[in-house]
């Protein structure tokens, strides 16, 4: 089952990559972009029986550094529901 983990920087944490992307967009002539924050999308293909708690543990132990990052999990069943 496909599961997506979104890892984003916490509010207030400076995001140099987001800033660089913002500057590049402005350099290309795109205006009206107030702010850019860059994060990561990690897709997991999970066997049946892997619980939400397991995925949360994966996030806390490795996928996100909770000192500076937040994470959000989208499980396959929600993904499938969203697609329909």
């Amino acid at each position: 089952m496909k599961t997506r983990v979104y890892v984003t920087l916490k509010n207030g944490v400076l995001d140099p990559q987001g800033k660089a992307i913002h500057h590049a967009l402005e350099g290309l002539g795109f205006h009206g972009v107030n702010d850019v924050r860059a994060g990561k999308l990690i897709e997991l293909d999970l066997a049946d029986g892997v619980s939400d708690e397991d995925v949360e543990a994966m996030c806390r132990k490795l996928l996100a550094n909770t000192v500076i990052e937040n994470f959000r999990v989208e499980r396959g069943d929600t993904l499938a529901a969203a697609a329909q």
Binding site: L14, P16, A20, V67, I68
Partner: protein
């Protein structure tokens, strides 16, 4: 002084660290591969060197911090061994939870590779006993992710407890309060972005880093 240098895939300052340690202590450090689950007995110092362990994938130091050897490093630290993390080693120690905070992408995006003036804030630790408090020394940095960040409470605690070991004398990489190196609460673990092993012999042009190893030798024998 019995020391070990941990080697990860992608470490590139492990041999420099070993050369500096051997030159100062007279004893060759044991090189320990990251797959090991045990360290040699009776280590006084464990050095976690600079480099790009595991290609800096996911986050700098994230994979290395969860590699088998780090359990043994944590156990040794609990037993009272000194642990020195330089550059990627500092990133690994924060990811492993041996030091607070995190090292993020440099505020100016660029990789920074130059000598920087660093102020010694605390000369009471074994690592910094070869310096005078308040003294300014020149030590090279070479990093992309050296921007030290922690929440305000942690920063205040580090300052209040004298755990900021080194501070950049001017703006370097965006680090909160210009922090270049911090100590653990018991002073036995030091993480720092500047590379003392790269300023450790006459051919390096300067030897301010060598004094860190000399101080360590004096302090822990």
């Amino acid at each position: 002084m019995k020391s070990a240098v941990i080697v990860f895939p992608g470490s590139n300052c492990d041999r420099d660290m070993a050369v500096a340690l051997e030159a100062v202590t007279g004893t060759r450090p044991v090189m320990v591969w990251h797959r090991e689950t045990e360290l040699p007995a009776g280590l006084d110092l464990i050095a976690v060197p600079g480099g790009f362990s595991y290609g800096d994938y996911l986050r700098s130091g994230a994979m290395a911090a969860r590699s088998p050897v780090m359990g043994a490093v944590k156990a040794a630290a609990e037993r009272g061994a000194s642990v020195l993390g330089v550059c990627n080693g500092f990133q690994i120690l924060t990811e492993a939870g041996l030091l607070p905070g995190a090292l993020m992408r440099n505020a100016g995006i660029r990789f920074i590779c130059r000598d920087v003036a660093v102020k010694v804030e605390n000369s009471q630790s074994a690592f910094t006993s070869g310096y005078q408090a308040g003294e300014e020394v020149l030590i090279p940095v070479a990093h992309h992710d050296g921007n030290y960040q922690a929440d305000l409470e942690t920063l205040d605690r580090l300052e209040g407890e004298g755990r900021v070991a080194f501070r950049y004398s001017g703006e370097c990489n965006g680090s909160a309060r210009d922090i270049a190196g911090i100590l653990s609460d018991n002073g036995k673990v030091l993480g720092m972005m500047p590379h003392p092993e790269r300023a450790a012999e006459p051919a390096h042009g300067r030897q301010d880093g060598r004094r860190l190893f000399e101080g360590l030798l004096q302090a822990i024998g």
